[in-house]
């Protein structure tokens, strides 16, 4: 799709001009890995020019032009480059040290390692992905950031086959990634979203099956298409009586979701946080 077509489409969702401008001036963010250092200790020791975000103590904005992957801090596993909305997804799930957590599509492991951090490397964190090369990328993150509470599996997330095993589940679904950068729309058209929506619905049903009664699930994508976001969530809520929508509960700038079940969903556009675009919804299993 060309830029004009995309802008017209995006205007149906948000302020397209503002969104595209913010897209182009995105900031670099990273997360301090408290599995290897403390936030205060990092701030004392680092020579990186950065500042703490107001939304989360361990999230920092880089104030210099630098490839984070080539810094000492990255090499030593003290930090992990991650967009701010991506950091917020794990905070929305908010797992603790006694939880049994599934990250159903976990590679390359940014949110996964953040979940481990929130769990203080205790409890059980299962990281799943479909392909060997994805699992390999996940291992690399596990190794560098010292994730100790993990079990990795290689399953089709649409057919997990786990019944009521997890207290918390993150499903960061494969998507058209329109929120990931200004060029994403060039390889996109609305049919792509319709096609992938079917897969996303299957993934969500499978993940929900694996959730214990009383457990919570966060569904997220880095795209804007309603077919991949609110429609997927609505499909579960309409068809599974035990599925209940709950508030995401984060105090960050966002737009509400669209449609019948959009009220408690978060749409984070680039102009909200000067970072990539994200969607998230939180669902509880009654029990």
């Amino acid at each position: 799709m060309d830029e004009k077509g995309f802008m017209d489409w995006l205007s149906q969702h948000t302020n397209a001009e503002l969104c595209m401008e913010a897209f182009r001036s995105q900031k670099q963010f990273f997360r301090v890995n408290t599995l290897k250092t403390g936030v205060a200790a990092f701030q004392k020791a680092t020579r990186l020019r950065c500042r703490q975000t107001r939304y989360y103590d361990a999230a920092f904005e880089l104030d210099e032009e630098l490839q984070i992957g080539k810094t000492w801090e990255y090499f030593l596993g003290l930090i992990h480059p991650q967009s701010l909305p991506s950091i917020l997804v794990s905070l929305a799930l908010a797992p603790g040290p006694t939880d049994v957590v599934l990250d159903a599509a976990s590679a390359p492991g940014s949110k996964f390692s953040h979940l481990a951090m929130l769990m203080d490397n205790r409890g059980v964190l299962v990281g799943n992905d479909l392909k060997e090369e994805k699992i390999s990328a996940l291992y690399s993150t596990i190794n560098r950031l010292n994730v100790l509470n993990c079990i990795t599996t290689m399953k089709d997330a649409a057919r997990l086959g786990w019944k009521e095993r997890f207290t918390k589940i993150l499903l960061d679904a494969p998507c058209t990634a329109l929120g990931s950068g200004p060029a994403a729309y060039l390889r996109w058209n609305p049919d792509h979203s319709k096609k992938i929506s079917y897969t996303q619905k299957r993934l969500l049903f499978s993940a929900f099956d694996a959730l214990k009664p009383g457990g919570e699930l966060v569904y997220s994508t880095c795209t804007y298409a309603k077919e991949e976001n609110e429609d997927v969530v609505a499909d579960l809520l309409r068809n599974v009586p035990k599925a209940e929508q709950v508030a995401v509960g984060l105090d960050v700038p966002h737009d509400k979701g669209q449609g019948e079940y959009g009220e408690t969903c978060y749409r984070i556009y680039p102009h909200h946080l000067l970072s990539e675009g994200f969607f998230m919804a939180k669902i509880r299993k009654a029990g």
């Binding site: 080539k70 205790r122 690399s140 560098r144 994730v147 599996t153 095993r165």
Partner: protein, 144 residues
């Protein structure tokens, strides 16, 4: 998910003897497709999969991730690099020429308070061979 306590004991003995290293409470060594390190909760769970991450091979050659993550606990066979340039070279995957005596052995390379990686001192060639996997090496662009 077998936890063979005798083998775990042997690994703990090895790291204690060679590196003077005692692992913190809650960290467990177990044998499941190799010697792995994880927390105690995952071994109690009924879930199957790859547990934790690789700690060493069966010949007690520790992995670089294990050393990078637990090397700060070591009190023996640690080389403290004095120059940042040396540490940078080691992070980039280069061997370091140095005379550390007549006995070849595994070493932990440290700079300031940080473990840069695992090395193997070759006494014949008088150099520390870099044991950091190629994929993990980096040309570092900033100062520590």
């Amino acid at each position: 998910m077998a936890n063979i306590s005798g083998k775990e004991k042997n690994f703990r003995k090895f790291i204690e003897r060679h590196f003077g290293m005692t692992l913190p409470e809650g960290v467990q060594i177990f044998y499941a497709k190799g010697v792995r390190v994880g927390n105690t909760d995952i071994t109690k769970s009924q879930l199957t999969g790859e547990l934790g991450y690789a700690a060493c091979d069966f010949g007690f050659n520790p992995t670089n991730p294990f050393i990078q993550n637990f090397g700060h606990l070591a009190t023996r066979n640690v080389v403290r690099l004095k120059q940042e340039a040396e540490a940078r070279d080691f992070a980039a995957g280069k061997d370091l020429v140095m005379d550390l005596g007549t006995k070849s052995k595994q070493l932990i390379m440290r700079y300031k308070d940080y473990t840069v990686g695992l090395g193997y001192y070759d006494a014949q060639q008088k150099k520390v061979q870099n044991q950091i996997p190629k994929k993990r090496t980096r040309e570092i662009v900033n100062e520590l």
